[in-house]
């Protein structure tokens, strides 16, 4: 039996006039890797941001390990910032634009959570930060400042910063969209390694090839709802919904041919 880590029920989010999420049901189990795809404006980033409460959902429920987040009152769930802080500490988030702290070195960036939030002793938060920098493959940059790193290196530091909190689940919000194409690979390699080690991951991505080879489950979102959901093969190779087919066709319109004399 699989253990549920994060789930949401009938999740809705409205920005003034604009209904971005129109009722999302989702369950993410331990060790699972889930990719969310869809066009810009389909609500996939908002969904991710509602799952760690960087955005407060308008209605619906979110549960971590089966426990409702927030307090239920008259059928409505109310959220208080002080209840959300410990929840965010258990949910790792990686942003499109890295958002590293520019006034801190790489090591300080990664130590910040264990130090300020978890309040670990110095010996512990330092060795923990170094071990996660090793995991993402840049321990030698520990004393550099973010501005001295390439985009790919910065994103790997951001991943280490999230991992250092030892979260139950990692959310990747278009983690490679802001990178130069030649730097995408090194970041995807790190994410793939984490997935293979059994870390629960949800990624919002435009890298369909990566979603196909790395994610166990793929979700196609359109206009604030999940239109299609299934194994990577089912959704990406043999989609059923016309919208999904159209979206995938748009993505594969221009492709390089294979070499004529390929083995």
């Amino acid at each position: 039996m699989s253990l549920e880590i994060l789930s949401c029920r009938n999740l809705k989010k409205q920005f003034v006039e604009n209904q971005v999420l129109r009722g999302i049901d989702l369950q993410i189990n331990k060790g699972e890797s889930l990719a969310i795809i869809g066009a810009s404006g389909s609500g996939k980033s908002t969904l991710l941001r509602c799952l760690n409460f960087l955005e407060i959902p308008s209605s619906g429920e979110v549960s971590l390990r089966g426990e409702l987040i927030g307090s239920r009152q008259n059928g409505q769930v109310l959220y208080q910032e002080r209840d959300l802080i410990p929840i965010r500490a258990k949910i790792g988030m990686v942003f499109q634009h890295f958002n590293l702290f520019p006034h801190m070195t790489v090591l300080q960036n990664v130590m910040e959570g264990p130090r300020t939030v978890l309040k670990l002793p110095k010996s512990e938060y330092e060795s923990r930060a170094i071990s996660y920098l090793e995991k993402v493959g840049i321990p030698e940059k520990r004393n550099a400042y973010p501005s001295e790193l390439s985009g790919g290196q910065q994103q790997r530091v951001a991943i280490a910063r999230a991992l250092a909190m030892e979260p139950e689940i990692m959310l990747f919000d278009e983690a490679t969209s802001a990178l130069d194409p030649e730097l995408v690979g090194e970041v995807l390699d790190v994410i793939l390694k984490l997935m293979q080690e059994g870390l629960t991951c949800v990624l919002v991505t435009h890298e369909l090839g990566f979603a196909y080879s790395a994610a166990q489950r793929v979700l196609f979102m359109h206009n604030g709802v999940v239109l299609e959901e299934g194994s990577a093969y089912d959704v990406l190779v043999e989609p059923q919904q016309p919208r999904t087919i159209e979206f995938l066709r748009g993505h594969s319109r221009f492709q390089l041919p294979s070499p004529k004399n390929s083995q």
């Binding site: 960087l54 002080r82 802080i85 988030m93 520019p102 910040e112 959570g113 999230a162 909190m165």
Partner: protein, 226 residues
């Protein structure tokens, strides 16, 4: 014509002028000591999510920014004792006035610095589980303060010059002493020239520092806040 400058009489009383300079520095330093934390607090309250708090602190800040400091000084020195019985000597009244007055200006500098930090920094701090105050203290303020330094030093220069008003409530600052010496020696030109020179000696390096920091920040691609 030909005015004959006679600085000798001024230099004979240089100790009085220097005592006045010391008092000027005391008021300026004291106003900074209290005005900066007060300004930070006011800035944070003005950025509050509670509208009533935001608005009332905003009105207070604007009141002290837009009314003449000499009126504020008279109010604390003359009006407050009549209305409430709280009496202050010239030093205290001056200190209270300039602490509050400069805090209103510092509040706006702090606010400008804080809002200039990208939203992504707040989000990254919150995403690793930091509270509002932790994010502010560890992530936002260290970056904001750096951008604020030039605007901040400009305020220090303005403040020190504005403290000349304390002479009007008989606090013995540099200008007050200069006035006294001018009246006793009949050499106002020399006395006020030397007094101006003393202000210049203190503030010119500060002004140079502003320029230097602005250049450095521009080099690393960071803006400054005004």
């Amino acid at each position: 014509m030909g005015y004959v400058w006679e600085f000798g009489v001024v230099f004979n009383q240089l100790d009085l002028l220097l005592a006045g300079l010391l008092n000027t520095l005391k008021i300026t330093g004291g106003a900074l000591l209290f005005g900066i934390p007060l300004g930070l607090l006011a800035a944070i309250l003005r950025l509050s999510t509670y509208k009533w708090l935001r608005v009332s602190v905003g009105v207070l800040i604007e009141f002290f920014r837009t009314t003449p400091p000499i009126v504020q000084l008279f109010w604390f020195f003359f009006a407050l004792p009549m209305l409430s019985g709280i009496e202050m000597d010239p030093f205290r009244a001056s200190l209270v006035t300039f602490s509050i007055q400069s805090s209103a200006f510092f509040a706006e500098v702090f606010r400008g610095g804080i809002v200039s930090i990208e939203r992504g920094q707040w989000e990254a701090a919150r995403a690793i589980g930091m509270s509002y105050l932790e994010s502010m203290r560890r992530i936002i303020l260290p970056q904001a303060v750096k951008r604020m330094i030039p605007a901040f030093l400009e305020r220090v220069i303005e403040l020190m010059k504005t403290t000349t008003l304390v002479a009007t409530v008989s606090y013995a600052d540099l200008l007050y002493q200069a006035n006294n010496i001018a009246q006793s020696t009949y050499r106002p030109l020399e006395v006020f020239t030397v007094a101006a020179g003393l202000y210049f000696i203190v503030l010119f390096p500060t002004s140079l520092l502003v320029k230097r920091i602005e250049r450095q920040l521009a080099k690393t691609g960071e803006g400054t806040v005004h």
